[in-house]
């Protein structure tokens, strides 16, 4: 089978999928303090600059270490792409009728944007902020600079009249955590790495017989996911 995505990365990812061991490869240490490779696709909706942005962002939020690989290598960029390409991204289950007025914090999201559009706008705004601070787009920054920009978003330092960055950061963080911990059928949590990190056993979750014996001692199991029960 011909391999068109860079053989060393693909081998690594295939190893991730079949082995239970948490890889402690050179990749893990190399990721710290340097720019990481953007995720291999294919992508259904993310543009090239968005792919690069999300890869850099999730690698900063979820950096590689002994507990697991970087966010990109956990599949989180693929997860984000599929979510934004799907019905949720297109605004399913979102009341999108106008008029659109600026509300109080208590009134929640009031923009006319679908999640797909909202994240696109957030990427553009964050890159603009990054260029204003460091003269480079977010994905071209070093790790420490990327962390600084994300902290700016998180703390509202990057807010402007056009774009409230701190709610965007919250949305980005939530989407990233969903990508790390949702069932692997959605493209993230590759090899159940997020679940292994926490000690969450996943499926099938029938504990009536087990609970008494594990009342006050840790229960561990090789995690299983939806795919294991099809």
């Amino acid at each position: 089978m011909t391999d068109s995505y860079g053989s060393s990365r693909r081998r690594f990812l295939l190893e991730m999928a079949v082995t239970a061991a948490i890889p402690t490869t050179a990749r893990a240490t190399a990721a710290i303090g340097s720019t990481t490779e953007p995720a291999a696709g294919p992508f259904q909706t993310l543009s090239a600059s968005e792919q690069a942005f999300f890869s850099a962002a999730v690698d900063t939020l979820i950096p590689a270490d002994e507990l697991g690989p970087s966010g990109t290598d956990c599949g989180i960029v693929i997860f984000i792409d599929r979510q934004l390409a799907g019905s949720w991204g297109a605004g399913a289950r979102l009341y999108l009728s106008g008029p659109f007025l600026e509300g109080t914090r208590q009134q929640g999201y009031q923009l006319p944007l679908t999640p797909r559009e909202y994240f696109a706008a957030g990427v553009v705004a964050t890159n603009a902020w990054s260029r204003s601070r460091y003269a480079r787009s977010f994905d071209a920054l070093a790790a420490a600079e990327r962390a600084a920009v994300l902290r700016d978003l998180e703390q509202g330092v990057a807010n402007s009249d056009d774009f409230q960055a701190d709610p965007f950061f919250e949305a980005l963080l939530t989407l990233t955590m969903e990508g790390l911990f949702s069932d692997p059928i959605y493209g993230g949590n590759r090899g159940k790495i997020g679940w292994r990190m926490l000690g969450f056993p996943g499926l099938p979750a029938f504990y009536a017989g087990t609970l008494p014996a594990y009342r006050n001692r840790p229960y561990t199991a090789d995690p299983k996911s939806i795919e294991d029960f099809l």
Binding site: P204, F206, Y207, G209, K224, F229, L230
Partner: protein, 130 residues
């Protein structure tokens, strides 16, 4: 109208179950209810009943995962088991160990309860008309 013995047995089981669960002086618990009752939440043992799990009518001697009108998990369909006293007992004690990846939402029963359930299912198979 022909009365099937299976129906009468079922009615007795249900009557016993209801008797135990509505005893005024004590709460029902696993020791007080017949072991088969847990199965009746999802499986039917007669012409009527829930369809969350496959029908247990005629289950003894049946190839696992073979009823045409039930959506089994892949694991059950591929399992190559035939249900008899031994295989059923193993499955009831630890479903996931016996058929890994099957989707029966049940963590298992004691060996004693498994024996009681198997006995009941054997009697059902023996007496019900085809």
């Amino acid at each position: 109208m022909r009365v099937r013995i299976g129906d009468a047995l079922l009615r007795t089981v249900w009557a016993v179950a209801i008797l135990f669960t509505h005893t005024a002086s004590a709460c029902a618990d696993e020791a007080g209810t017949p072991p088969i009752q847990a199965c009746l939440a999802c499986h039917r043992v007669g012409p009527e009943g829930p369809d969350l799990g496959p029908s247990l009518v005629g289950v003894m001697g049946r190839k696992a995962g073979s009823l045409p009108d039930y959506r089994y998990s892949g694991a059950m369909r591929r399992s190559d088991l035939v249900w008899d006293a031994a295989t059923l007992s193993r499955f009831l004690i630890d479903p996931q160990a016996t058929v890994p990846g099957n989707r029966m939402p049940f963590s298992g029963v004691s060996a004693q309860d498994a024996q009681a359930i198997v006995k009941y299912l054997e009697s059902l198979s023996a007496k019900s008309s085809p």
